[in-house]
């Protein structure tokens, strides 16, 4: 593959991982093209950053959730 990879092709390589035969040509181009490498690294960095921001903001530091001083515990079964 001689032509540079577009955003979708780069993303597909990211999704496919290292060892898929179907993406072998794209991977070969990526490995040999500085421009595509640069774009690929940006894609990876962006996805990591977005994931980090969304994950951090919704992470809970404890097993239980404390909201306004109230600790939520596992719901108790209702008496049958």
């Amino acid at each position: 593959m001689i032509r540079c990879l577009n955003e979708k092709q780069l993303w597909e390589l990211y999704e496919a991982g290292e060892s898929t035969l179907e993406r072998a040509y794209g991977r070969a181009h990526l490995d040999s093209c500085d421009a595509c490498q640069w774009h690929y690294q940006h894609l990876v960095r962006d996805l990591e950053l977005i994931g980090q921001v969304l994950q951090e903001a919704t992470n809970l530091s404890r097993d239980t959730v404390q909201i306004q001083g109230v600790t939520k515990s596992p719901p108790l079964p209702l008496a049958s």
Partner: protein, 171 residues
């Protein structure tokens, strides 16, 4: 019964944080998300059939959380009660020490990322959260949402394109 309660408590401890996180991603009003997460575990408690291990409990919880969030978004009563769209308030759960990565992401970038995430379609939010926050494979996401892997890829790529605009990294 005591054995069942112990099993439930173990499961709750193992998955509660993850389910709350998922609900908070899919619903923009944190107290509502916390309530839905609690409902998910109540439902688990009441649904005896899930304990027969035919469906992995982790998948069952995820599936039910996604569906419960979807139902909640459709609920008129809650729609009326919701405040204006807001990003998650990190001050609710302050971390004692910021990591270097946290320091390097500007508050402006964080706000833009949240803003863009909230403008994704509900399906795109679900796919993005399950794939990149929960770290599930495309096939797993497809199975959980009951759609094809092709559909997952399509939604995911559109979501990625949209989200990257927030960072100015669009090619």
């Amino acid at each position: 019964m005591a054995d069942g309660q112990e099993k439930f408590a173990t499961l709750y401890r193992a998955h509660h944080s993850r389910i709350v996180r998922l609900c908070r991603l899919l619903l923009q009003y944190p107290p509502e998300a916390d309530e839905v997460a609690q409902d998910v575990f109540l439902k688990l408690l009441k649904t005896e059939s899930v304990w027969d291990h035919t469906i992995p409990l982790e998948s069952w919880l995820t599936c039910f959380a996604v569906n419960a969030c979807r139902d909640r978004r459709r609920s008129r009563w809650w729609r009326g009660r919701r405040e204006t769209p807001q990003e998650f308030e990190e001050t609710d759960f302050p971390s004692p020490y910021p990591t270097p990565e946290q320091v390097s992401v500007s508050s402006e970038q964080r706000a833009r990322i949240w803003q863009e995430f909230r403008t994704l379609s509900p399906r795109q939010q679900e796919v993005f959260a399950l794939r990149y926050i929960e770290g599930r494979t495309g096939e797993e996401v497809a199975e959980l949402l009951g759609v094809t892997t092709g559909s997952v890829k399509q939604h995911l790529f559109r979501a990625v394109q949209h989200m990257r605009k927030a960072l100015g990294g669009h090619i």
